[in-house]
């Protein structure tokens, strides 16, 4: 090989290695909230795509072929875990033929495994109790305090897949944790004065999915409109719980956007109690386009129901 | 069939959806197209039309066929799985063969051959060109000199069930896949007074 050819070869090799080394890590997440978190932690080193749009109920999604294709090209997959995606994600992972992102692979991340789980059932659990999550309540991203705990596994997975940027991911995880604490403090301050003077429960949930949010901000729940999780309440149940909630001084019901509208209308009719319907995830193309906006929206909704204007 | 031919058919299938509406519209139209010129003599047994492939020494009436010869029933079966109800008698040394799931020459398909030697009834089940099973033992209790109503299910996927006088005798399996829809009888010193085809008695 002549000297000039060697030079071209060397330049080409350096260019190729440099290009490869600087390609962002392709990460696929199940939810938009996790996509936002991964982007906060990974920064410019990651290219993130969420499978869901933020408007779906993650329990009941199908293993859509497009999901399979996206996961087949990912270097890392981040899911909530705690059986939230048990109905569809295992199928998506298997059909992707991507060994790196399957359970046990270095690119597989269950963010929920590092979270201090609430509402983990004790004793025997079976389906006669409704759609019970035997691993505990999976909706931890609704609380910035709990969401911060997911930073660890996310960073660890990014480091495993892209060790060259370990320091950056560690810094990113720290910043993410600090940001979550900032959000928590700011929103807690909004609610503190409103709830300090209230004894007893202030709200009910339609479905028990707000446990982490309520616990973080010191809000007490009267329970859920659903008698059994995932089972639509009967007319008798609606009447019974409407009466009980009124008697206990509950101010309003908090429900996710995927809760059945007709059931909520019926409850309002019986109880004269308002229902506040909120998004359950970040929706990048809507009013809650990122996590801070999503948290602010939730807190402002609660504050409004408790009689305060948005701060 | 070549891969190219299959591909061609695949492309053709792409317009299958358009065919659906047309086919469904055609479905309700009754009546078959006019028959082509029929070179075979046509007879009736209890109202069911049949033609004679080999006249031999057959004797015909509206209620019986006897002697020696081969006949084929005009209308094809409605399914690959059918039941055949036969009432017949055999003279000493006589035989009757039911040919099912066959072609216009009764060359293919499944065959049950009943033959009589004294009071003994020999029954052979054969399928395709080479499968043959002597199932006489199943019919050991059936008197050859006065045969009861015989009902035979023949399922194209390789299964057959036999009843005599309404009693289920046995089930048989065979390997040959048969695709024909025509059926007929070969007689030799036999008399048939009933030959009907209908839905399989047991569908499995």
């Amino acid at each position: 090989m002549t000297f000039s050819k060697r030079l071209w070869f060397l330049a080409l090799s350096v260019f190729t290695i440099q290009a490869y080394a600087s390609s962002p890590v392709k990460v696929v997440t199940s939810t938009t909230d996790l996509a936002w978190a991964v982007k906060e932690i990974g920064g410019a080193h990651v290219e993130v795509q969420s499978l869901l749009k933020g408007t779906e109920n993650p329990h009941f999604v199908d293993a859509i072929p497009e999901f399979i294709r996206l996961v087949s090209e990912a270097q890392a997959v981040v899911i909530v875990g705690l059986d939230l995606e048990i109905g569809w994600m295992p199928k998506v992972l298997t059909r992707s033929g991507n060994a790196q992102v399957q359970p046990g692979g270095k690119g597989y991340c269950e963010a929920g495994r590092a979270v201090h789980v609430l509402e983990k059932p004790t004793g025997d659990v079976d389906r006669s109790m409704g759609d019970v999550h035997p691993s505990g309540n999976p909706h931890f991203w609704l609380s910035p305090k709990a969401f911060a705990q997911a930073a660890g596994p996310i960073a660890q997975t990014l480091i495993a897949v892209d060790p060259a940027h370990t320091a950056d991911y560690q810094v990113g995880a720290r910043r993410f944790t600090e940001l979550m604490e900032e959000i928590r403090k700011k929103n807690a301050a909004k609610l503190h004065s409103l709830i300090a003077s209230i004894s007893g429960p202030v709200l009910m949930e339609y479905h028990k999915e707000f446990a982490y949010f309520l616990e973080t901000y010191g809000l007490r729940s009267f329970g859920s409109v659903e008698e059994k999780p995932g089972v639509a309440p009967s007319a008798g149940r609606l009447a019974e719980v409407a009466l009980a909630a009124k008697g206990a001084g509950v101010r309003f019901v908090l429900a996710g956007e995927t809760a059945p509208k007709k059931t909520l209308e019926k409850f309002t009719e019986l109880s004269a109690m308002p229902v506040a319907v909120v998004p359950m995830s970040v929706q990048p193309h809507a009013k809650v386009k990122d996590y801070p906006a999503f948290q602010e929206y939730l807190v402002d909704t609660v504050a409004k129901q408790l009689g305060s204007r948005t701060l | 069939m070549s891969f190219q031919a299959n591909l061609f058919r695949l492309r053709g299938m792409g317009s299958g959806l358009l065919l659906v509406a047309g086919l469904l519209l055609m479905a309700g139209c009754g009546g078959s197209p006019k028959s082509s010129q029929n070179p075979i003599d046509v007879y009736r047994l209890n109202g069911i039309e049949y033609g004679v492939l080999d006249k031999g020494s057959l004797d015909f009436s509206d209620t019986r066929i006897s002697g020696k010869g081969t006949l084929i029933f005009k209308d094809p079966a409605k399914s690959d799985d059918n039941n055949y109800a036969l009432t017949f008698s055999l003279e000493e040394g006589g035989s009757l063969t039911l040919v099912a799931n066959s072609d216009a020459k009764l060359a293919e398909g499944v065959r049950y051959t009943f033959s009589r030697t004294g009071s003994r009834l020999k029954v052979v089940l054969s399928a395709g060109a080479s499968e043959t099973y002597d199932v006489s033992e199943t019919f050991a209790a059936v008197p050859a000199s006065s045969l009861p109503l015989m009902e035979i299910d023949v399922h194209g996927h390789g299964h057959s069930i036999v009843w005599a006088a309404g009693n289920k005798l046995d089930e048989f399996a065979f390997t040959t896949r048969v695709t024909g829809r025509l059926w007929g009888l070969r007689l030799d010193k036999a008399t048939v007074t009933q030959a009907k085809i209908g839905k399989a008695k047991e569908e499995h």
Partner: protein
Amino acid sequence: MENTRSLYFFLFIALALAYVSAPAASDGSGLKTSVGLDVVGQAGLNSTSGASDRLDVREFEVMLYAPADHLFDGMGSIAAHYEGTGIPQVELHEAYLGSSKLIPRSRFRAGQYFLGIGRLNQVHRHDWPFISAPKVHKEFFDAEALLDTGIEYSYLLPIPHFLEVTAGVTNGFVYGHDHSAGSRPLVPTNYLRTVTYFSLPWDGGTQIGLNYLGRRGGEGTQRTILGVDLTAKWKEGALLNFLLQSEIWYRVLTPKGGTTQKAFGLYLYPQYYLGENLFLGLRVDYYSVLNLTDAFGSPVKSVELNFVPTVTYRPSEFSSIRLAYNLKPEFQGGASTTGHHLELQGVIVLGAHPAHDF
């Protein structure tokens, strides 16, 4: 007697597996057990209905699956069912090893399985959106599904659109519903499927598959089947607001030295969510032997239709109750008959969470 002994043996194994699988799963093996129970009854409404006029446990299926190690997974299922005769049959349904970790963008399985062709053939019968097999499926494959032993490979093309190709070859000693051990084929069963997916407006999506299957049996019969399958869904949360499912098939059977039979069939099933966990669907079946002739060589038109309005009550993804009415007009030559019957089905799924396939 033999079948009763088999049934008791099967029940013992199933119960033993269910008993051990719960603690076994907590030992880190990941073993999951799932049970499907499918009870079906038919009541004829006229003499040409062809209904069984009985209630049967159509299927009691026990499924086990787990990763074997970091590379391979295993799956097995055994089923007890009544074939309309009142006598239980016990059989091995699926038993295969596979992997989606060995070759990038690929998965394969080897063993006994329901062939990866069409739509209904790949879905366990108790998961179908209707009770019984459409005519074309029953004729071309089986009343349940085509099952054989072989190897199957699927590859997801590396393009910015979902396109997956599956190819498989199985022993082919038997085909579909077979009461014998079969015989060596001249050409084993071989099949190919290409499937793609498109998003649809209003949060919908559709999957379309093109299919080919071929086999030449030991007796020389060449079988060629071509088909298209389509599934379109619109979901809102847990609710399947609208489903459209259809398969269109064409088959050529050529016996050695015999008459070629050409047949065509399809089904179309739209289903709509009424509310209160109730779904209403109407399946239309069409089946025709295209080149049927009478004994004298005259063409005979042969068409079978089936109209099956179906109501499903599905309180959760683990149970359903279904009622269907079957109206079956059949036309052949100048004659027509119409059968009517009712079907009732109850399905429950126990154990591990079933996958939400599209």
